[in-house]
Amino acid sequence: MSDDKPIISPEQRAAYDRVNTMLNRLTLVAVGIVVVVVTLMFFPQGLDLGTADQVAATEVPEVDPLEEGIVDGIHVETGFVVDEGWELVRANCTACHSSKLVTQNRADRAGWESMIRWMQETQKLWDLGENEPIILDYLAKHYAPQRKGRRARLTHIEWYELEP
């Protein structure tokens, strides 16, 4: 590993830089959204824009995605898509089993709701209260069913030379 030659090409480097810039912009947008949400939370009646910047400066901590273990919008430790509600899902849905049981399943909102009801009736899952619709929206959005038909084609084939 003492070789100093870059492993990735200049094209890849350029692409990487583009992605990086894009993600930085996305972060800004995300921070923006957080600001708006936080603002609305604290000032449901609305407020004049003059104070919005102050709110941004004082209320929103700087988020470092890598320290949070977030790569490409995925929280690496749990595999959850990082989007509104994901932290509620992490908090409520990884207490008994690992997140893998959640992320490998697919269902529409009603399907997720029926799984939650089953866990509440038989597996000691608690009442999710006002978080339930947020959790359901999140699950239905990111872990929605995909059509497979009666039989899907073979995928993920790892081709290899058959030995004689």
Partner: protein, 440 residues
């Protein structure tokens, strides 16, 4: 096979994370802030390992093993469980691990290649010297407890190779998707179990004429941590319980049963959903009704009694308990993805099984089921063991092929080529196994 050099990356990071960064990736972070990469090489090397660029690299603290690499932890976890590192972890709490088809090639499945389905947390400390099995319930003359030593002493030992297949094997293929661990093909195994016959033990205990069903209780703990909550308690009707092959097993493949598979005692019921084979067995209730323990009711291990449209709501009274598993087969050699030269004969090998029945015919197809060629099929080592099959196929032209394998049971039922009847939890998918082959 090429030699693969392996480093224990986790140990390196545990011992000296900064040094580990340097050794593995040539990465040096700013000595003061310990952040960022002083040399770009470190970043690109790390990116190459991770298979993509690292975003926000400048914020990355030194000595932080990128979380993606932690997935290598899978390998460590598999080793700790005594599993082959080629197995696939579907869930790590509770453990649900499946075996790729090509690792099921052995006639008798070794412990390290055996799929694992836990419903709760495994017992942590087990003392075989004090372990007891209690037989009770409405239909015994009087409850009786046996120590392991007593069971081994009092009753004749028997060994059988028994197919245990998860009821949900193949669940991943259902549309609309079915709930639970998304098993593909490898939640099946055929090991050799040694123990005493349940029927011998029940004879000694004394079972009343009103006996209908047995229900087991094991030593695992519910995921919620509640010590009083039963994780799973399933069973079978008396007729199945009293078969010769239904064992109270204390050994698997000639050794103590591994902890994950039920040490020190397991009820083993071949040919039925593997969930009927209770692990860490502590108690068997002889019931005067169909057993109603957790996972005997609702959608668990039950399917619509009459066929339903995919996705249809099925009322509780319309659900029936799964009994014998259906006819099925698997291609264990070659592994899917083989490339071979035109003119070469491809040798195929696999296993076939049929729940309570036997397999009477085995066929393979290289043209998507348009024509079938008979395979050579061996008889089972004993009732409820799987049967070895082999076939040689030749390909007429270069190109992409799929080899499909289809078994037919002794009653004349064959495996379907598409996914069979939908059910809410995605049980009983016995569609033909397929592998991809390229001829050049």
């Amino acid at each position: 096979m090429k030699e693969k050099k392996t480093v224990n990356i986790h140990r390196l990071y545990a011992e000296d994370p900064i040094e580990a960064d340097r050794l593995l990736f040539g990465r040096e972070s700013d000595p003061v802030s310990r952040r960022g990469f002083l040399r770009r090489t470190g970043l690109s090397a790390m990116a190459a390992v991770l298979g993509g660029p690292i975003v926000f690299a400048e914020h990355m603290p030194g000595g932080l093993l990128p979380a993606l690499l932690l997935q290598d932890g899978n390998e460590e976890a598999l080793k700790k469980l005594g599993k082959h590192t080629g197995l696939t972890i579907l869930n790590d709490k509770p453990w649900n691990i499946e075996t790729p088809a090509h690792l099921l090639d052995d006639e008798v499945t070794p412990a390290d290649r055996m799929f694992l389905r836990n419903n709760g947390l495994m017992p942590t400390s087990i003392d075989p010297a004090t372990w007891t099995l209690t037989i009770d319930g409405e239909a015994v003359t009087k409850p009786v407890s046996f120590t392991l030593a007593e069971l081994k002493q009092k009753f004749t030992h028997h060994s059988y190779r028994l197919v245990l297949e998860c009821g949900g094997n193949g669940r991943a293929e259902f549309d609309p998707p079915a709930k639970g661990n998304q098993w593909t093909v490898g939640a099946v195994q055929c090991a050799e179990w040694t123990g005493v016959r349940l029927k011998d033990v029940l004879n000694a205990v004394g079972v009343k004429s009103n006996a209908v069903y047995i229900g087991y209780y094991g030593g695992d703990t519910h995921l919620s941590g509640d010590p009083d909550k039963v994780v799973i308690s399933r069973g079978v009707p008396m007729a199945k319980a009293l078969e010769d092959e239904t064992l109270l097993a204390f050994a698997m493949n000639g050794k103590d049963i591994p902890l994950a598979h039920g040490h020190p005692l397991r009820l083993v019921v071949g040919g039925w959903p593997a969930s009927a084979s209770g692990k860490w067995l502590k108690r068997i209730a002889i019931r005067d009704r169909v057993h109603d323990g957790p996972k005997m009711t609702g959608d668990s291990y039950r399917v619509p009694c009459k066929p339903v449209e995919p996705g249809e709501k099925v009322p509780d009274e319309g659900m029936c308990i799964i009994e014998s598993m259906p006819v099925k087969s698997v291609i264990t050699s070659p592994k899917s993805g083989a490339i071979l030269d035109k003119g070469r004969t491809l040798e195929l090998r696999g296993h076939a099984w049929a729940g309570d029945l036997s397999v009477k015919r085995m066929e393979v197809s290289i043209d998507f089921g348009a024509s079938w060629q008979a395979a050579d099929l061996k008889p089972a080592h004993n009732r409820l063991a799987w049967q070895r099959w082999t076939a040689n196929v030749k390909f007429p032209e270069t190109g992409y092929y799929e080899v499909w394998a289809r078994a037919t049971d002794s009653s004349g039922r064959s495996q379907p080529m598409v996914v069979p009847g939908w059910n809410p939890k995605g049980y009983l998918n016995n569609a033909t196994h397929r592998i991809a082959v390229r001829v050049r």
